[in-house]
């Protein structure tokens, strides 16, 4: 599963990527995380708050570090 984490390299963006990696590890899911730090690309997704998470071209989360349960729900 390809997951994009959007954010200009702030602490919360890193925490978001770490959270996804950790939950995927626990759930035994294969994920590729791509961090998008370029501001032009970030705004191209139409998000106004970071960190944001994009799965399959869809913005599923924005503005906060997602919770453990939320990440689990995305991984299906």
């Amino acid at each position: 599963m390809d997951i994009k984490v959007l954010g200009p390299g702030c602490a919360k963006c890193k925490a978001t990527a770490d959270m996804i990696t950790r939950v995927a590890g626990e759930a035994g899911k294969e994920v590729q995380i791509e961090k998008i730090e370029d501001m032009r690309q970030i705004v191209g997704f139409g998000v106004m708050t970071t960190p944001a998470v994009v799965i399959a071209g869809k913005v599923v989360h924005k503005g906060t570090v997602p919770s453990h349960d939320q990440v689990l729900a995305w991984l299906g």
Binding site: P8, K12, M39, V43, V59, H61, K62, G63, S67, Q70
Partner: protein, 352 residues
């Protein structure tokens, strides 16, 4: 912070949450009333004379730290709940196509209510401008958001008093409205960075997932989350700020402060603004210092100017904004906001 907590969580009945909240506020109230005796008790544990410089500084510190922490907890929680009714997307929808004037007033108000952190300033800026929100209206939002916030109000209210807090609130909003209006009148859209002018985000943006409607208990959770987040970010600044304040309170002689920062010294207001720009702290760090300065006879206008300058005009923020604004436009921004702060400073020194 956006309001999209949609995950299931272990359920406690809603009424338990409501009762818990009432109980918490009651305990809060009781403890808050006992802070002076508690601070005196702690100060008495130190082997120093209560009325010496050191004794004064210690008492100041142990009274202010718990007081500030308690006020912050309550107010940040309350604002977290209120803010869950707002989002950047809703703000954008409200502001898009608004005319200048009305738009500036609305934008400044929404700047106070809309949840966002400074690391989102750039996408937020672009999101607003690309949706057709006029540049000046966008600036009103961006000026109000850091300057007039719940942390500043909570601390001013608790440490300096409600009159100063209300005054700061009113003039902070006024500066955001007027400065944004002036920037709008100057027609500086051409001074954005090229790539920002060309962008039409939103038009090609992928669908955002729908946010689930929130229950009141969801909003409590967002409030608690806000408290955790704000504390994680500002506790260091508060301790440092109160430490500085305690030193000023205990050691700085009063006549020196009156001479440097009193209303008679006309140059003190511009000096306060200039000194404030490179200082990087937030409301939590600067207000304990403000309290101590006022206690030593510094003029209210000078101190307010210093505080507004520290919070609203910071170098790190300008470096972030450099991604979307040309240096010329940043210069105008600093000039217009700085002039507004100067005017407020002089006005207050003149009035009070």
């Amino acid at each position: 912070m956006s309001a999209d907590i949609s995950s299931p969580r272990p359920t406690r009945p809603d009424w338990l949450w409501h009762i818990g909240l009432v109980g918490f506020v009651a305990v809060w109230w009781l403890v808050y009333g006992q802070l002076i005796p508690m601070a005196e008790w702690i100060t008495a544990l130190f082997p120093v004379d209560r009325h010496s410089h050191t004794g004064e500084a210690i008492a100041f510190f142990f009274y202010d730290v718990p007081k500030v922490m308690m006020l912050l907890t309550l107010i940040v929680f309350g604002m977290g709940v209120v803010r869950s009714y707002f989002s950047p997307e809703r703000t954008r929808a409200l502001l898009a196509g608004k005319r200048e004037g009305v738009g500036n007033v609305m934008a400044a108000g929404l700047g106070v209510m809309t949840p966002f952190c400074s690391c989102s300033a750039v996408p937020l800026f672009i999101g607003l401008v690309s949706a057709g929100v006029p540049l000046g209206v966008t600036f009103s939002f961006l000026i109000a958001a850091p300057m007039v916030n719940e942390v500043a109000l909570a601390l001013l209210f608790g440490l300096v008093g409600w009159k100063v807090a209300m005054t700061y609130f009113a003039f902070g909003l006024s500066i955001a409205i007027v400065a944004g209006w002036v920037i709008g009148k100057l027609r500086l859209e051409g001074w954005l960075q090229d790539w920002v002018r060309d962008i039409h985000s939103g038009a090609t943006a992928p669908e955002a997932a729908d946010d689930a409607p929130l229950t009141l208990v969801d909003r409590y959770h967002l409030g608690i989350e806000a408290v955790r987040e704000i504390f994680g970010r500002v506790w260091m600044w508060i301790i440092l700020g109160i430490g500085m304040g305690a030193l000023i309170h205990g050691y700085v002689p009063e006549d020196l402060m009156v001479r440097i920062m009193g209303a008679e010294a006309w140059w003190s207001v511009p000096a306060a603004v200039v000194i404030g720009i490179p200082m990087y702290t937030n409301a939590a760090g600067v207000i304990p210092i403000v309290e101590a300065l006022l206690g030593k006879g510094a003029a209210l206008g000078t101190v307010l100017a210093f505080m507004m300058s520290v919070i609203a005009l910071s170098l790190p923020e300008m470096i972030i904004l450099k991604q979307v604004l040309t240096l010329r436009l940043i210069g105008v921004f600093v000039g217009v906001v700085g002039t507004g702060i100067l005017a407020v400073g002089y006005l207050f020194n003149f009035l009070f």
